[in-house]
Amino acid sequence: MTTTIRTRVPAGASPAAAAPSASGPRARRAARRRQLTAAGVLMTPFFVLLVTVFLIPVGTAVYLSFFSDDQPGLGFGPERTVFVGLRSYAAVLTDPTFLGGLGTVALYCLIYIPLMVVGALALALLLDSGVVRLRAFAQLGLFLPHAVPGIIAALIWLYLYTPGISPVIELFAQADVTIDFLGVHTVVPSIVNIALWSNLGYNMVVFYAALQAVPREVIEASVVDGAGPVRTALQVKTPLVRASIVMVSIFTLIWALQLFTEPMLLSQSSPMISSRFSPSMYIYDAAFTRNNYGLAAAASVVLLVCTIALSYGVTRFTSRADVSREAR
């Protein structure tokens, strides 16, 4: 119910403002009303979903992070629900395991996002330049891993990473190279590798589609001006798909901050991945093994705020860059 009201309020405001100029014909007003109804009907599903799968859960998390069933002292007394202020937040932010998880995910982002964006863009430019034969085949081959669900991908890689059963490790061993994919220093790169394998093809397609929209005459002009294929790719095409690069960066960032599936599964076989390896795993652990919903809720809100702040930061940073470029 609230959603329809919500959708109508901003929509209803504009005809009221426009009313003096459109003072009259009943037909026009009826048409306007029909338009509004259509807009309302078409947008309702979106707002219903927004409320049920986003706003209500976020509201619940915020509530859970500020209220708690407390018993004073040792905790064996009767429970009562009390407002606990920032207690859960203080606990989360002073928890070295949570901060360690944030650090891990930061490291992961630092390795993963540049590799992903540069890699996907490079592949897309290659495909677009026409150097590659069998373009459709290459595209399909690169895209296919994305069709594999994350949990299956993690299982496949778990098999390839586990000593004793992995053919890859055996191959290295035959060349007298001992390699531990799940060691202290290799575990984050190993997870990055899984994520790259899964998502590189998808983002490449996004870039490739954007490159298709680059006007051919611009390319021709650059060729006429004497630019080689590399220069055309880097200095003509790449700036023209800036918007896509920003979008892919933001989506990749948001996806990376929620790191969960891969480490959760790999933790089965590597003691180097703790139960609180990433913030999402921390939240899961807090709620379901520690039974500490206040802590889990506070950690979720902290992660949400971090995600929003970083996404906003990326947008601001790139749009400011745009402005300064235009000024030049």
Partner: protein, 443 residues
Amino acid sequence: MPGRPSRRSVLAAMAAVPLTGAVSACSGGNAASSARTGTTTRITFWSALRGSQEVVDAFNRTHRTVQVEFQQIPSGGQGGYAKLSNAARAGNAPDVATIEYPQVPGYAIDGVARDITDLVGDGLRRKLLPQALGLTTFEGRVFSVPLDVEPMVMHYRADLFDRYGLRPARTWDEFAEQAAAVRRKAPDRRLVLFPTDGMTQFACYAWQAGARWFDTSKGAWNVSLADAPSRRVADYWQGLIDRDDVFMNAVESRQSDAQIGNGLVLTRLSGAWDAGAQMNARPGQKGQWRIAPMPQWDTGSPSVGTHGGSTFAVTADSRHPEAAMEFIEWQVSHPDALRARLSSGTSSQYPAAPGLVSVGRDAFDRSYYGGQDIYTLFEREAQKIGEQWLWGPRMSATQKVMQDSFARVSGGQGSLVESLRTAQEGTMPDLKALGLSTTQHST
């Protein structure tokens, strides 16, 4: 089977879940179904312990006014605790739940386990080993009733001890010398394993040395995982690890199974229950094992900790706490209950009610241990259980953090003492977020 279940029993329990789940779904197997029909009170009971079905059957045969509906659930770490917590949150927890000692305070604080002080009569109190009941009593209030209490003992390979001229060590110093000797004489063998997944084992070593990880005497949870006795134990094992005198890997692993199966590890330090688990898991090693008391820090005042053991709690949701208590009392103190449990297979659990020890002793086949009377040994060891110990409010979490850190030590990062401090740092935010009064004593 109490304490750490063998992987086989866990698998069996997990395999049994869908089936029992389906059955109870038909009968509505939760608190809502525990209803008074005529003069019969029906209660529900969840457990991952082996032989529980047999115990329930025996109870139902001999009781008219209370009937128990049993549901096998996975062991705690395999999802049993999550299931219990979620059921309690949803208001359909069973009347009687099985909780291991380390988790009792957590469930008491969460309001899942009911305060049953008034339901535990003097008769039952007298039947139970005081140290066991002490682990389920907080601020003078009882929250669950112990089934078994498991003093840690040293299981050792008598044949290999003979070969290398060893006798069970009486002190930890002697034990360390033997560890070095074994490595010298047999480079692929080790005296013992330091388990990287062994918070409960480490806690038991610290307990024996006089540690108090948790203390409630001043009206707040004082946490000191790295107190002086714990550091002493950590330094001791760190020395053994640094000198490569012990194995260091997970005990719940194929690697550890192979170490025991191939005779690479000469002793196992674990609870009394493990004698039966060993018999079930490796019948081929019959006659090779014996059991001895733990090495001591101070032979003048010997002490041990416990490793494993389960308790039964009445849940706060239960509508028939008296009936639930009647079932629990029978289960932990009646000889028929223990006989029924043992009918499902060999077990060497040490009952928390000393009156039942003779039942266990009579049912136990001594030939695996070369005719040794292990129950008399357990009886002596149980008397030495240190009384100072309390488990903390979020032991599963403390356990995970500590074990994650142990695993890193085995990968060459950090030390055991640092692991204790890490575990403490990873525990405090939990307790604070729960709103408990806490103090820290970390040196």
